[in-house]
């Protein structure tokens, strides 16, 4: 039953790991176990949250975007340059988001219309967009951003900054939007069975392009948040974030093969990736333990998940062909139902032995 539940709700396993992490923290020093710590981690995860929403959409369509780090950097640089050139803060952010949207749409066009494989296309644009970053910034850091811009990520109502509230709204909207709207479902349909989706009247190419476009828009938003949080923009802004975003989503149960996953899961994955960071600091461990712990947990979750899925598949296949192997069981639906809850091991052993 537990296995079934975890299979249905991949988010739950990440949530458990997060609870476990905080439990360790509580054992070491329970004064850390407070709402403040959780909000601190939330504040540190904003960028990854936004990227994870985009990654979920793209991965739902059986795509992949490794260029988001470069789009982040490009949007941050565009916003920074415009603000320093005297543009208003909303206008600068608007242009930066537009640039991100265009970058994303370009990725989408390459993937859907030109039929370039997603990883190759976005690998190319990863280099391309990073080059634009250097061209625009002239190789130097952008400093002296207006105070009003930095204030966007300063704590405000209920301990959360304006941007943190925005991200919370975005997360809820994206989660509901992907689960309950026709367009959200069509992304999963395209990822699950492209030809089938086309046959039931979904404009598959357009859905894909929009998914990449929204992903670009969100990556640009992440870049703006990044610039606001640290107050200056280095050329390397966003480098390596694509891998963290993909890892967060995968951890949260979004499949790279398309068709499954939830924003909630991806967000929990992102929260987990960041909480390792923050908790290591609180435990006074050196920060360099971060990646090895994240990698180990990621692998354990993935391999366990793969093994469970394989076992469930074998059990289902066994039930499907059981009547041919064991004629007495044919038609006995009650027996079949029992077999479903019978321990996996016996069922597998029987099927192996019958071979």
């Amino acid at each position: 039953m537990i296995i079934r539940f975890l299979q249905r709700h991949r988010e739950a396993s990440v949530a458990l790991i997060i609870v476990f992490l905080f439990a360790i923290l509580g054992l070491v020093d329970h004064s850390y176990l407070s709402l403040d710590t959780m909000l601190l981690v939330y504040g540190n995860s904003l960028i990854l949250f936004v990227l994870a929403i985009g990654a979920t959409m793209v991965m739902a369509t059986h795509g992949l975007d490794v260029s988001v780090g470069s789009i982040m950097g490009l949007a941050a640089v565009v916003a920074g340059l415009l603000m320093n050139a005297g543009w208003g803060i909303p206008a600068s952010i608007g242009v930066a988001l537009l640039v991100g949207l265009l970058c994303g749409l370009f990725n989408g066009v390459l993937v859907s219309w030109l039929k370039v494989s997603a990883i190759v296309a976005t690998l190319g644009t990863l280099g391309l967009y990073r080059g634009f970053v250097h061209l625009l910034s002239g190789g130097s850091w952008i400093e002296g951003l207006p105070e009003g811009f930095k204030a966007l990520t300063k704590a405000g109502a209920l301990g959360l900054s304006p941007v943190a509230w925005l991200v919370l709204v975005l997360l809820i909207a994206a989660h509901l939007g992907l689960r309950y709207t026709a367009f959200g479902r069509s992304m999963f349909a395209v990822g699950d069975n492209r030809e089938g989706a086309r046959l039931i009247g979904i404009r598959v190419n357009e859905v894909q392009i929009v998914a990449y476009g929204l992903n670009g828009l969100l990556a640009a938003l992440a870049g703006v948040i990044f610039a606001s949080q640290i107050g200056f923009i280095p050329n390397t802004a966003g480098t390596g974030m694509e891998m963290r975003a993909i890892a967060s989503s995968v951890l949260g149960g979004v499949s790279l093969l398309g068709g499954t996953g939830t924003v909630l899961g991806a967000a929990l994955g992102a929260y987990f990736m960041t909480s390792i960071d923050s908790i290591l600091v609180l435990l006074r461990l050196e920060a360099y333990w971060n990646d090895i712990i994240a990698g180990a947990i990621l692998l354990v979750v993935l391999i366990t998940d793969g093994k469970i899925r394989e076992a469930v598949d074998r059990l289902l296949r066994y039930q499907k062909y059981r009547k041919f192997i064991d004629p007495q069981a044919a038609g006995q639906q009650g027996e079949l139902a029992k077999a479903a809850v019978r321990p996996l091991k016996t069922a597998l052993e029987t099927s192996e032995a019958r071979k």
Binding site: G124, V250, I292
Partner: protein, 333 residues
Amino acid sequence: MKLHPALKRWESVLALLLIAEILVFGAINPVFLQPSMLLYATSDFIHVGITALALTLVIITGGIDLSLGSVMGLSAITLGILWVGGVDIWMAAVAALAVGTLGGVFNAVAIHLSKVNPLVITLGTGFLFGGAALVLSGLAGATGYEGISNFDPAFVNLANLEVFGLPLPFALFLVLTVGFMALLHRTRFGRYVYLIGQNPRAAAYAGTPVFRTLVVAYALTSLMAALSGLILASYFGSARSDFGSTALMPAITAVVLGGTSIYGGSGTILGTALAALLVGYLQTGLQLVGVSSHVSSALSGGLLVIVVALRSLSEMGRVWFQHRRVLRNVAAE
């Protein structure tokens, strides 16, 4: 117009592009045409080429290895740690290569055990190996940007050694290219690699040792990544955990630009080798004519997008023409 079959091959196009590229840069700046310049410029990018050769095998099997950048850093740091710990530099180098190979075996076993997409598994192991490198260098007290240095001079000189007038890393690249060509195109193992990429299920039913083949392919990739890490350590005279972080994407670029299908089943070593040189010389050439290294990386990204999009378009055009011809024939009857 009848073209000789050899000219229709993608490798010929790459070779022509490579020659054209060298001539164009030579016309702008004659320094580029000097043989010593052409040879020694390779030292900046040849580690990418060496890794890409083995990565070709993995991609032909339908897999991918995102952890090779981390393996480069891990092998360099292993070398550094052992050297600081008083181990002989050559023993340390062998140990670093062994660590790299084990990483590859780990990748293959994890992929086989979990039946999860190689992209995801190697993303995870990439964090794991990169994290291990960071922990090792952190425990050794090496700061991020300085790394571990003061290696045995004999080891540091290795990258500048000449073999038959060629710099050692480049000579190594040529030898490995021939070696991998023989392995992929002339052995049973090579045929298995293609078969697994074409149709893994058919390969399994045909009794192909799928698991063993994958282990060898991933182990070779990691071994070459580890070797590249050592070459970089020798070239720079220091070992850092983040050595390979910028090598992963160019390596995949070289393989894909070389004509290997990212979905597996087709590709050649020669194509990868030529593409690695093409991209490498593009970067060097652009820097030589005064374009900053960052802009040149943008141009190689752009090159990848354009070439792959054009190939895809020409494939779509070919299919369209074929369909039209068939339809016309049907209509004529």
